[in-house]
Subunit: 781 residues, 2 copies
């Protein structure tokens, strides 16, 4: 595996220095002449009818350029084009439906003036019943919005095989109802955008995962043709799915058009919580049927997902939750009934894993429960049922490489699984969960299934990769330089990367689905090969040199193998042959995948990553627990950048930890967020970080670049069930609801103890449960 010079190595991030020295230019750093500033009036009511909305005083405030409400916006109902539900507006019309719903916008000479004027807007509301939970939404006695009777945003019902028959034949059935909260992506950089209108054209400086997609959104709302809109990409301070569907740049662009001006808007942290697109909370009832030997037969699932008051990416996220996890195991049949429900909560959307962590929280606990019932080692039960390579899964996934068994073997080794199961330490527990994800999946645009890349060679020898995707912190820009450096033999630091200016790059469906390395990487590889061929052709046809092979930073005689000239000399010669024009190597990767049939059946991704995550926990005498260690082993196909891949594992595990132990964006019965500042909604810091042991299985996928699949999303996916299973191992309690906060943990622990005492069996704990440690020192304190 040591054949590569740059691939698989810890090549330095090309944006690292700018970021750590504070010189990176984020959207809010954009300062343009004569800029107007906008602030939004967000609803303070969860559900209410607007009785009065009086902006006169605000309009009269000195320095205010405009105050807009829904009636001022010609295309108020064109927001967003995303999803088919078309149930969202730019500004609230008759009703507000969540705390944060947008009611009015002030544009002024400064942010301070805009804020002052906001306070002069008079709004009167007639409160309406609030739908705050999935069960309440499902009952549909109260409506989240009066235009949606039943509160149903989307239904999915799919059965493959004969589920009832398989359940009837089952020796064991295990499962339950598992609840996963709505989570906020909490990227460190709040949304900010600056939009410049000029003679019918629009330039929008912002951060996005999907430059071309946001251009569509902006076009829909402003009525400006896409070809007249340029999205100017700024450095991005995190995304994690939250920058798939972004109200802020769209509204900023609209204001620039309405005022024929330059307009800037930047969210505060509170506005990030109120008016963005957090993840869907879900309630998942799932049951697995197996025969007496532990062979899985069937699975049935009822899933409720919380869409918030309007639809964003909820439909796609819910679909992933319904189908993805099943593909990791051999099932004869499966049934899923998924319902997206409107809640008086912010619209929900994409978050790392895209519905898959929610389902894995349910599925991997149900399997754990099944192992308990079968009295099997949960790793053995999984190994028995994992899919094999070249098999086709129940939903149509076909695996060219499947390293799940190697992942399990490594994870067991790294955790000391067998030893720890054999010699249990009181107060300690270990848990396992497996995962499957995808390296991209066919997006909604059938005509753009893959990725395209251009590699520009300029007369100075400068190489520039032009791609339409985003660098969202994952390090794709550095990966681009590694691939070009590997193929051409140049220094990776000398390769330029332009990611996402819609006027400069190829079209792209964006940065999502962990697809960049696998899909875009191949496109870049193709672009390198194309450029090398063009250079070789030019040297032969125009200069009578060669045939040559371009490699190792030089042109070598194809037959002699002798070095003829350096890469830079060859670049100058080629460019001079055409009067200094640049060359464009073109790389297009169109994966041979299906779009999926009406039931979602099909081979959606060019490759599938697998993984096994294990957790070790300690339960303390004071009724708290800590996660001591997470082992995270991933079938990555091939590691492209060893340091950045491990960074993805650390980040993903930490975010997984957050979901299972700390975070929840739930609303209470009044529709008020229980947490919407970083004091209350606590992302994990180094203090909450367990020991993380990451490792990779390199299966060398035949389609990926150098065999790579992906690593972006997987590390978040199975952390929560691994922790929950470890806690079960420690205390014999199924934590079916996340997050498992200290309060909840303590409460359940006390309930359990009380129950045990009621049964007069204080010492008899369930199997697999560790003993509570009694530390004499601590007891005395």
């Amino acid at each position: 595996m040591n054949e590569y010079k740059y691939i698989g190595k810890p090549v330095r991030r090309i944006d690292g220095q700018a970021k750590v020295t504070g010189r990176a230019v984020y959207s809010d750093d954009v300062i343009l002449p004569r800029t107007l500033h906008a602030k939004v009036l967000h609803a303070r009511q969860s559900h209410a009818k607007i009785l009065l909305l009086d902006t006169e005083q605000a309009k009269a405030y000195p320095g205010v350029a405009a105050v807009y409400t829904a009636k001022d916006i010609a295309r108020n109902d064109k927001y967003f084009r995303m999803g088919d539900t078309k149930d969202t507006w730019v500004l609230a019309e008759e009703y507000v439906r969540y705390i944060g719903d947008m009611v009015a916008i002030v544009v002024a000479e400064s942010e301070e003036i805009a804020e002052a004027a906001l306070r002069l807007i008079k709004v009167e509301y007639e409160p309406l019943p609030v739908v705050s939970s999935l069960q309440q939404a499902k009952e549909a006695k109260d409506l989240t919005r009066c235009d949606k009777p039943g509160n149903v945003a989307m239904p999915i019902v799919v059965e493959r095989g004969d589920v009832e028959k398989d359940f009837a034949q089952a020796a064991v059935v295990a499962g339950g109802t598992y609840t996963f909260p709505s989570l906020h992506q909490v990227h460190l950089e709040p949304n900010s955008a600056t939009a410049v209108y000029n003679m019918g054209k629009l330039a929008v400086y912002c951060a996005s995962q999907m430059w071309f997609h946001i251009r569509e959104d902006i076009s829909a709302v402003t009525g400006i043709a896409e070809k007249d809109i340029e999205i100017k990409p700024m450095m991005i301070g995190g995304a994690f799915g939250a920058r798939n569907d972004q109200p802020l740049p769209v509204i900023t662009a609209l204001l620039a058009v309405m005022l024929k001006a330059t307009v800037k808007m930047t969210n505060t942290r509170l506005e990030e919580f109120l008016a963005c697109r957090p993840a869907l909370g879900m309630e998942i009832e799932t049951w697995i049927a197996a025969d007496a030997e532990g062979n899985f037969l069937s699975k049935k699932t009822k899933l409720l997902s919380g869409f918030g008051a309007y639809s964003s990416d909820g439909d796609a996220v819910t679909a992933i939750a319904c189908f993805r996890g099943d593909n990791n195991y051999r099932f004869r049949s499966t049934y899923v009934n998924g319902t997206g429900l409107y809640l008086n909560h912010a619209p929900t959307g994409a978050y790392r894993g895209f519905g898959n962590p929610q389902m894995h929280f349910a599925l991997e606990q149900a399997i754990d429960e099944l192992a308990v019932k079968l009295n099997m080692d949960p790793t053995e039960l999984r190994l028995k049922n994992f899919m094999h390579n070249h098999e086709t899964s129940i939903h149509g996934f076909r695996y060219e490489t499947n390293g799940i068994r190697e992942c399990m073997a490594q994870a067991k080794e790294l955790m000391g699984w067998d030893e720890k199961r054999k010699n249990k330490t009181p107060g300690k527990g270990i848990g396992v969960a497996a995962l499957i994800h995808c390296s991209g999946s066919r997006a909604g645009k059938p005509e753009f299934a893959g990725s395209s890349a251009l590699l520009r060679l300029e007369s100075s020898g400068a190489l520039t990769v032009l791609i339409g995707e985003s660098e969202i912190g994952q390090g794709m820009n550095t990966v681009c330089t590694q691939i070009v450096a590997e193929e051409l033999g140049v220094d990776p630091l000398s390769v330029n990367v332009v990611m996402g200016d819609t006027s400069l790059t190829p079209f792209s469906t964006g940065t999502n689905g962990s697809k960049l390395t696998s899909n875009l990487g191949i496109a870049i590889l193709f672009a390198c090969k194309d450029l090398k061929k063009q250079m070789s052709d030019c040297l032969r046809e125009r200069w009578g040199i060669g045939p040559v092979e371009i490699k190792n930073g030089a042109a070598y005689g194809e037959y002699t193998g002798e070095k003829i000239m350096s890469f830079d000399e060859a670049a100058v010669k080629c460019s001079h042959a055409f009067n200094g024009r640049p060359f464009y190597g073109v790389g297009i990767f169109e994966p041979k995948t299906d779009l999926g049939d009406a039931t979602g059946y099909g081979n959606l991704a060019p490759a599938y990553p697998f993984g096994v995550q294990m957790a070790e926990v300690t339960v303390h005498d004071n009724g708290t627990f800590t996660v001591d260690k997470i082992v995270s082993v991933h079938d990555i196909g091939k590691t492209i950048n060893s340091q950045m891949a491990m960074g993805q594992v650390y980040g993903g595990v930490l975010q997984g930890m957050a979901g299972v132990t700390l975070e929840s964006l739930a609303i209470n019965k009044e529709g008020i967020y229980q947490a919407n500042t970083l004091l209350e909604y606590k992302p994990p810091t180094f203090l909450e970080m367990p020991e993380i042991v990451g490792s990779f299985v390199e299966t060398i996928d035949p389609y990926g670049p150098y065999g790579a699949k992906c690593i972006a999303e997987p590390p978040i996916i199975a952390v929560a069930p691994a922790v929950a299973n470890a806690l079960y191992d420690a205390v014999g309690i199924r934590f079916e609801e996340a997050p498992i906060t200290p309060a909840i943990f303590r409460k359940k622990l006390l309930e359990k103890q009380r129950e045990n005492q009621r049964q007069n069996q204080p010492e008899k704990l369930p199997e697999n449960q560790g003993q509570q440690r009694t530390n004499p020192k601590e007891a005395g304190s």
Copy 2:
């Protein structure tokens, strides 16, 4: 001529709205995080040895990041690569040689801190003799710089034909010695640059006429390879040649590299006067020999040009002055002896016309004098001697189109020349001067003779022209949109133009020599044709549609002529055929021109513009004069944008007026500028503006786009001699020295009157001289 939809029309400037609303982003508008600010210590001595340079106090000043002097700069002698003389340094080493010479640089957290620290630098000088005039430099008793004995920066001596023989055969000889001052280009926007160093790479935000050239300069001084430097083009507030050779961006880039930081520097107006590259002042002795019928035989010229203390573009400017003007007339022989001389003055370089206005001031007055001696109408004398079409001039220019006779006819008509010569009004005078220039000329890079353009078609239908030249106010960006609109039938406002990001565009030798419309215009035309062919091929090969012709914003059946689909639909289809990748139409124009032999002989330009300019003046009783009217008629080949072309005429004439009536950047005997603020160095305003009557002769050049040649430089070239000739017509005095300020005019007028009185012939004035008006009313006041 009305066959075009957009060509020749007053299509709106695409940058107009941004400029007039103050929203255009100029270099000084660039505000980046964590920027350091630099200020230069300029010498206050014209010529001195540096005895002491103590920066310790400045270095210790709080907030100062660094203070640099010459010894800190590793590649201090690599500045500039321009010209072969290699006689310039980044910072002065042992000596300072003009007021403004750069001695030290402070980099600090703010501009204010940098300025405060500058004042703490101690410098002691030993004054040396100052060379302040061309005659003094020529005598070479004093040296401008001790390393250049003789003060000679460059010599040119060329003779074609037998000049002595032709002069011996002449019936009439006329001429004299004419002096034209050094002028400052005074673009409204001062130089500003921000340079960002990041991991071995450099991005420089600045304004330049030559993006790729300044990249070379920066590479030479910083040692960073060109391929690792990106020049980010900003909106440019005027250039006029001053942005060919720019110390400021180069130094800013160097500081960013030395400090591994982001550094910004912005000139004050005073610094613009002190440390930029104004035009060369010249002293030109020229004589023309003619036969008795007025047929020109020969010309001989001795030319001294003022280089300043170091060399910039002086050699090229001096060469143009030596050769260009001769080509407008039929000569049997010509001799030129040109000498570039060092002066203790700022280094001099390019200014609109590039040496040609200086020579025209001499040549066209000498011809006027010849007409006096021959007692011929000066328009007739010129018409007799103008070159004809398809002739080759004495220096090797070959004319495909030459509209000089039509220009003369139109100018006479617009001035009412014949009528005014017949019926002379006392106190009034009219003058004529003809001009020739070029539409580009082969630059120093033989391998890049022409221009290249890319036309990018994106899946949305967006069209983007990518070119390496600069928009310096001349309106080339708008011309790009007109050509694309004309060729493809789309709205010009929908065409995007990227001018000059070195990481994005083709290589270019820059914006100079009035070459953009003629050379680049063709390249864009070719790019349009290439794109249309690619689209047609794609539709046929990938979609089975066509063959089609792309025109009028749609695809038409090539045989049927029927509209098959809109341009945007065709764009989407083509892009979808290749997974959304953009198409690049490539246009390369390589003019069939010569590089010139060692004597400068050759056909240097693809086309040559001609023109005739006339002035009408009034001499007032109080001894002042006003220029009432300038007629400016130009063989433009073909007008591309009627409004912008006329704008070029207005601007050029006004700058020509400035040179002949207002401006001079002369130094006195102490080497001190007589004017270096906008109060003392007065550019003309609307108050000084005469009536300007512009007109165009469309000769439809076979090589230019739609027949276009150029209009950028010509309108400045012959204004000064036309005004001088008109003054001669009015008062019988040859003003051989420009500028003809009120003081000089009055002095010469009084001298003339006194001489007339001495000769006791108070009423007998020279022929062609208007009477001084005696207005009873004014006489009484």
